[in-house]
């Protein structure tokens, strides 16, 4: 009976599987979550436990794998929006998630462990926690476990801070998930702390797919095979220096750290490339389109037709009254619900253009209004129509008034493009995040990115001064 069910499930899966028919498995992952999903500091390649497992699964299924890097906070929205087929990012199995998504069998299994200083032999199990001080994230279930065992709990922000307090001797113990502890030990080679015992609570991590995706039979079959042939264990050893696969043992391979200066030097070109290929084009294209929108909207607002001018007024009001980040999310994550799926870069261009259009429209409108009525009349008396007057008489003079505030808009836009990192555009900030993630050198990498933004804005300010000088040639000084 069970065999029959398995066979029929297997048949159904292989016949209808959308992945096998398309020949590609699209995998959503953070890319900044070492050691599970991150970019190798030396090669820049996307690697990690979850990455390698996803690759191995695709291999078993005989399809190509394609990774789509998405911030964790929007990863499920992107899954729903069909930007990829599965999430591989240490998704912990919970009842809520089970209800909303198709969750595979676990490919990583953690359990609660007790961490102490390496030289502390007084604790080996929960029973020894009475009267000890534990450092725990206030909202985590581990906090509750430690408290019930009789420990006094110090609330901290996160795991790294907890370990730091342990190192400094301010607390005696930290209870947390074994995978997080393995990851920390593998990254830092910290040997001043050790795993002293277990608490017996398991956490299981799995792939997540859209509900009723039909992917589960394939995924589970592949995971079973990988577990059986030792591949999962080998991948776990490689990244965690421990076996967190919930499967038997295999080999291992270490990685080597780099100095901060070397890291910054190595990051200069990748960051410049991100600025040149993404940040700057995104800025220029969005600003150019935005200016055209702004001019049309400004003229519409000045129109004597109340319908036209009110539509324009409404547009400006909506754009200025809603956060740019929300506008980006609507274009990228919400439009697919209406059947409009736009790639990251064009989506960013659309959102930024519309945003610039709203702000610059008011600048252009007030610049046009600053031109004396006599200029319109003089043009009218020499026979010019509306368009020609605008083009040859009013706009050239309005430009002089509008350039300083429009430069502000442009310089803001340069920095606002960093928001595109939230919709999968690999621009300057996103690249810095990618490089920083596996190394924990956030200050150095974000600092370098900040310098790049600053240099771009300096160049723009210089250009602004030149344009202003040119436009002022006909004004008494």
């Amino acid at each position: 009976m069970a065999l029959l069910a398995l066979v029929s499930a297997g048949c159904g899966g292989s016949d209808e599987s959308p992945v096998k028919s398309s020949g590609v498995l699209r995998v959503g992952t953070e890319g900044v979550y070492a050691p599970f999903s991150y970019h190798d500091a030396a090669t820049g390649e996307l690697v990690g436990y979850d990455i390698d497992v996803a690759k191995a699964v695709a291999d078993k299924l005989g399809v190509r794998v394609e990774f789509v890097e998405t911030p964790w906070d929007s990863i499920f929205a992107a899954l729903e929006a069909n930007r990829f087929d599965v999430v591989a990012n240490q998704v912990t199995i919970t009842d809520e998630r089970k209800a909303k998504y198709d969750l595979s069998e676990p490919y990583a299994v953690g359990e609660g462990v007790i961490v102490t200083r390496a030289d502390d032999n007084s604790i080996t199990s929960l029973a020894d926690l009475g009267g000890k001080i534990a450092a725990e994230n206030a909202t985590s279930n581990w906090s509750e476990v430690a408290r019930q065992a009789g420990a006094r709990v110090e609330a901290v922000e996160g795991f790294t801070q907890a370990i730091k307090l342990l190192n400094q001797g301010r607390v005696d113990v930290v209870v947390n998930d074994s995978i997080a502890v393995y990851a920390y030990l593998a990254e830092t080679n910290d040997n001043s702390v050790k795993i002293a015992g277990t608490v017996g609570q398991k956490s299981e991590q799995s792939f997540a797919a859209r509900k009723n995706s039909g992917l589960l039979p394939d995924l589970n079959k592949a995971l079973d095979e990988l577990r059986a042939d030792g591949t999962l264990a080998a991948i776990s050893q490689k990244y965690l220096k421990a076996n967190a696969s919930g499967a038997p043992e295999a080999a291992e391979a270490p990685q080597q750290p780099r100095s901060t200066l070397q890291l910054v030097l190595d990051s200069l070109w990748p960051l410049a490339k991100a600025a040149i290929t993404m940040t700057i084009p995104l800025t220029i294209i969005s600003f150019a389109i935005g200016l055209v929108i702004a001019l049309v909207v400004a003229l519409a607002r000045l129109s004597s037709n109340p319908v036209i001018s009110n539509v324009a007024r409404f547009y400006v009001s909506v754009i200025r009254g809603t956060p740019l980040l929300v506008q980006l999310f609507i274009v990228f994550y919400a439009m697919p619900e209406l059947g409009v799926r736009i790639d990251p870069f064009p989506a960013a261009v659309i959102a930024f253009s519309l945003n610039v259009g709203g702000y610059a429209a008011e600048v252009i409108r007030s610049a046009i209004l600053s031109i004396p009525k006599g200029q319109w009349e003089a043009a009218e008396t020499i026979g010019m129509n509306y368009t020609t007057t605008l083009q040859r008489i009013v706009l050239p003079q309005a430009a002089r008034v509008a350039v300083p505030p429009l430069s502000n808009t442009l310089i803001s836009l340069v920095k606002d493009t960093s928001l595109a990192s939230t919709i999968l555009v690999t621009e300057l900030l996103r690249e810095a995040q990618r490089i920083a993630a596996p190394t924990f050198e956030f200050f150095a990498l974000y600092g370098t990115a900040a310098v790049y933004y600053w240099v771009i804005c300096l160049a723009l300010s210089f250009g602004q001064a030149r344009i202003e000088h040119r436009l002022e040639r006909y004004v008494a000084r």
């Binding site: 009349e377 003089a378 008396t381 026979g383 008489i393 006909y474």
Partner: protein, 257 residues
């Protein structure tokens, strides 16, 4: 056709023109004629409607009713007027503003060539040659490449006159051409206008320069409360006014103390 012949049609006929701004009726039935090749000055107190009258001749303010004919273009404003008709009508006249309204981002020469080049789409060589000639006529040949801010008020106004003439209008309209000028600059502008009168241009001039009006014009109109109260040769209207209002006005202008 010689230039003189083409000016045979350069006359203006205004019949019963009315114009209101909201509740304020600024022109309450104005009629007059300007003979070809003659100069008409319009005098009158502030708010009497003289500027509105001039602007109606160029359709900057479109009358509510009445008939105006300039050259061969005749419009009955009590009927709907098409855009093209209005454009042809406007092209009959050139306008010189009180505040000159030169284009500040264009040189003196470019201000003069803008209309013929862009609107009339005539060849550049020809237009520039004419523009240089016009600038010489107003005494500014050497200022052709200066921007307006580099010119004095009188020079700016003379460029404004050259700009109005460049389109070869049938009549030239002046809206208080010297009111915004420093007193010592008034003479150079008036002398240019006087030259144009001698050349035989058909002109309508709104002005407060009573002596100038007396010397240069063939006809003087005195406006008051939206009506033409008195019209005739300068020696009659200015030299020997029939109306009490005209006398009071002239008294105030000529002997302000």
């Amino acid at each position: 056709m010689t230039e003189q012949d083409s000016r045979a049609e350069n006359r203006i006929t205004v019949e019963d023109v009315h114009k209101s701004f909201g509740d304020n009726e600024v022109l309450r039935g104005v009629s007059f004629e300007v003979a070809q090749g003659s100069a008409t000055t319009v005098i009158g107190p502030s708010g009497s409607g003289k500027t509105t009258l001039l602007r109606a001749l160029n359709a900057l303010d479109v009358p509510d009713s009445g008939v105006i004919q300039i050259g061969e273009e005749r419009i009955d404003f009590s009927k709907p007027v098409g855009k093209d008709q209005l454009r042809r009508y406007r092209a009959q006249s050139g306008m010189v503003f009180q505040a000159h309204n030169l284009f500040p981002h264009k040189t003196a020469l470019e201000n003069v060539t803008e209309g013929p080049l862009i609107v009339q789409k005539r060849p550049k060589d020809e237009v520039e040659a004419e523009a240089v000639e016009l600038l010489s006529k107003v005494g500014l040949a050497d200022k052709r490449d200066q921007y307006p801010y580099q010119l004095s008020g009188g020079q700016q106004q003379r460029v404004g006159i050259a700009r109005a003439l460049a389109l070869k209008p049938k009549v030239v309209l002046f809206d208080e051409p010297t009111s915004a000028l420093d007193p010592e600059l008034v003479g150079e502008v008036l002398s240019v206008i006087r030259d144009l009168a001698v050349e035989g241009w058909t002109m309508v001039i709104v002005t407060h320069e009573i002596q100038f009006a007396r010397q240069v014009s063939d006809q003087v109109l005195f406006t008051d409360h939206g009506l033409i109260l008195e019209k005739g040769p300068p020696d009659e209207v200015i030299g020997n006014p029939k109306e009490e209002r005209t006398r009071q006005f002239l008294q105030r202008i000529l002997n302000p103390l």
